[in-house]
């Protein structure tokens, strides 16, 4: 029996199909990311699981129990809202303690766990402040602490790290992953950052205008995207002309292309522009095959200047053809 099961779940606002026929099985202890462009229905899906949006059709089952229309306050989930929804009249510590208070955890234990949760999100020094005295990223971390402190069986996170700097975000991703592994918390996280979805999830659910278009491990989503849209949403891609007259379009990821001295590869290309990304160089090239994007590791060797002619090469095993008719 799956831990959480969404069965043909839909939410329609008049003619708008915010969520359309979504089915998903989540196992106990799994970390799932909902990935998709803005407005594709991620928040609506999460809110239906949380019980704040009433499903138009379909069922939600949590540990075998049908909770489709159960009141939100009987579900016992930990939720981070996209807008944080902190209690503005309570201090940071009181915000985090609220859930424990509702669970009737005694005072000493409460204080201990609040302190622990605040330390986890690096906010122990701000326990006495009110939300309006915090920065956006600090508020977001209070929301996160407030949700994890109650140790819920299911965590619903709506873009919980969107406002954090890269370093803090990585630290929080690590903490979320640790909690999930140590406590076995099942986690569903909404994000539109593909790198975040890839780095923390067991499986990625890609959504597009209210529908699920792919459910796979991060590696599979990246390497074998179900459509060109997904392929472009989760990374950059180059189109190669078909091998045969009416064969399928072929795709290759920028990092799978290598640059060689002119004349030594499969096709010559001219460097149009280059971007320094720190650990990598990103090149835009013009070639007889069409425009190409190439990513090369910054291994210390000098970069190719714009105007230089180089050669493109690749391993045929890294070429992908997309399923017929997918766009």
């Amino acid at each position: 029996m799956p831990f959480l099961e969404l069965d043909a779940l839909s939410k329609h606002y008049g003619p708008v199909k915010a969520v359309d026929d979504v089915s998903l099985s989540v196992e106990q202890g799994e970390f799932i990311s909902l990935l998709g462009p803005s407005g594709c229905g991620k928040t609506t899906t999460l809110q239906m699981i949380a019980g704040f949006v009433d499903a138009t059709a379909g069922r939600i089952r949590l540990q075998g129990r049908d909770i489709t229309h159960a009141p939100a306050n009987t579900r016992g989930l930990g939720i981070v809202f996209q807008s944080y929804a902190l209690f503005p009249h309570m201090t940071v510590a009181d915000n985090v303690a609220f859930g424990l208070e509702m669970q009737k955890v005694d005072r000493a234990e409460r204080a201990r766990r609040v302190e622990q949760a605040l330390a986890l999100v690096h906010l122990d020094a701000h326990a006495g402040r009110y939300p309006r005295e915090l920065s956006g990223g600090q508020r977001q971390r209070v929301a996160l602490a407030r949700a994890i402190v109650i140790r819920p069986p299911l965590l619903l996170l709506d873009e919980p790290l969107s406002n954090l700097d890269a370093k803090l975000r990585e630290a929080m991703q690590f903490e979320l992953r640790t909690i999930q592994q140590q406590v076995g918390t099942t986690t569903i996280m909404v994000t539109h950052d593909q790198a975040e979805a890839f780095s923390v999830s067991d499986r990625v659910v890609v959504m597009q205008s209210g529908r699920i278009t792919q459910i796979d491990t991060p590696y599979e989503v990246y390497e074998h995207p179900a459509s060109e849209f997904i392929s472009r949403f989760v990374g950059k891609t180059n189109l190669l002309p078909p091998a045969t007259a009416n064969g399928p379009q072929r795709h290759i990821r920028p990092e799978k292309l290598t640059l060689k001295p002119a004349g030594q590869g499969r096709s010559d290309a001219t460097v149009v522009d280059r971007f320094f990304l720190g650990s990598q160089w990103l090149y835009h090239l013009e070639s007889p095959l069409g425009p190409m994007v190439v990513v090369q590791v910054n291994d210390g060797s000098p970069a190719h200047a714009p105007g230089t002619v180089v050669a493109l090469d690749w391993d045929d095993a890294t070429l992908r053809t997309l399923p017929e008719g997918s766009r």
Binding site: P88, R146, I150
Partner: protein
């Protein structure tokens, strides 16, 4: 900030001048005249005779008759405010939860008492509560028997609550509009019951709205005139009706002025105290 030499500050002075003038002419001038009048000597045969005396204030403070009137006014003001909070806050909350077409309809209904002239409205109440009125007929039909309701504090308070409710509902409604509905949902998500969510999360956030509504209601109720005048009758006097009587029946203008000044000061003290509390309690949290 108070530097008047900058062009900005100077234009501010010019721009506030008209309202400042209006304020001085229509408010400060009559107020200071009243204040001066309250220190005038009074002679039963000749009226206010000028001069300077504290005797009216001394009389008010030492005479149990006036003390009773002040206490009654305070009591009626407090009970009215309390009832308005009790009815108005849930009313505003329910209003804010209503679906779109009904919400505006019911908001209009809440506001109707303000659209009817106070005299008409009060006569309506006196007919309703009169000894032969519909309420008494109902009482009789139910076997309770006729009850004298006119000229009681109950009648005055009922009519006051009726007209003051909008002044309670509107600030609370405004405060509720500013709330993020997801904050209440967050409370529910932690397992709070609906009631707990309201008491612990919604109420504290709309407290400034409740307090300002309460201040308006108290101020208006404590200085109300038409309603106690018509429904309280001659015996059940409140401060404002006493002032009126002093001016127009006793013709003791200085005494009337002195009572009016004390009412003003008492009202000011209540308002400022409440304001201070609001500032201290909610400034930091809710901004």
């Amino acid at each position: 900030m108070s530097d008047t030499s900058t062009p900005r500050a100077r234009s501010a002075v010019w721009l506030t001048l008209p309202s400042l003038l209006l304020f001085t002419v229509v408010l400060l001038t009559p107020l200071s005249l009243t204040l001066l009048l309250s220190f005038n000597e009074y002679d039963a045969a000749r009226g206010a005779t000028g001069g300077f005396t504290f005797s009216h204030y001394a009389a008010i403070v030492s005479d149990g008759y006036y003390l009773e009137i002040f206490l009654r006014t305070l009591r009626i003001g407090l009970i009215t405010t309390f009832l308005c909070v009790l009815i108005g806050v849930p009313e505003a909350y329910i209003l804010s939860r209503m679906a779109a077409p009904w919400r505006s309809v019911f908001l209009m209904i809440v506001l109707t008492p303000l659209l009817v002239s106070v005299v008409v409205r009060t006569f309506g109440w006196s007919m309703l509560l009169g000894i032969e009125g519909p309420v008494n007929m109902l009482f009789q039909a139910l076997g309770i028997g006729k009850t004298r309701m006119l000229y009681t504090e109950g009648a005055v308070i009922t009519a006051l609550v009726h007209v003051m409710l909008p002044f309670m509902v509107i600030p609370v409604w405004t405060a509720l509009q500013k709330l993020d509905p997801q904050v209440e949902q967050a409370a529910l998500s932690f397992g709070a019951s609906r009631l707990t969510a309201i008491v612990r999360v919604v109420l504290p956030q709309i407290m400034p709205g409740i307090l300002s509504g309460g201040l308006i209601v108290f101020g208006l109720a404590a200085s109300s005139f038409a309603i106690p005048g018509l429904l309280g009758g001659r015996r059940l006097k409140m401060v404002a009706t006493t002032v009126y009587d002093q001016y127009l029946h006793e013709l003791n203008w200085p005494m009337g002025a002195a009572i009016a000044v004390i009412l003003l000061i008492a009202n000011l003290i209540v308002m400022l105290t409440c304001h201070r509390v609001v500032e201290r309690q909610y400034r930091r949290r809710l901004g």
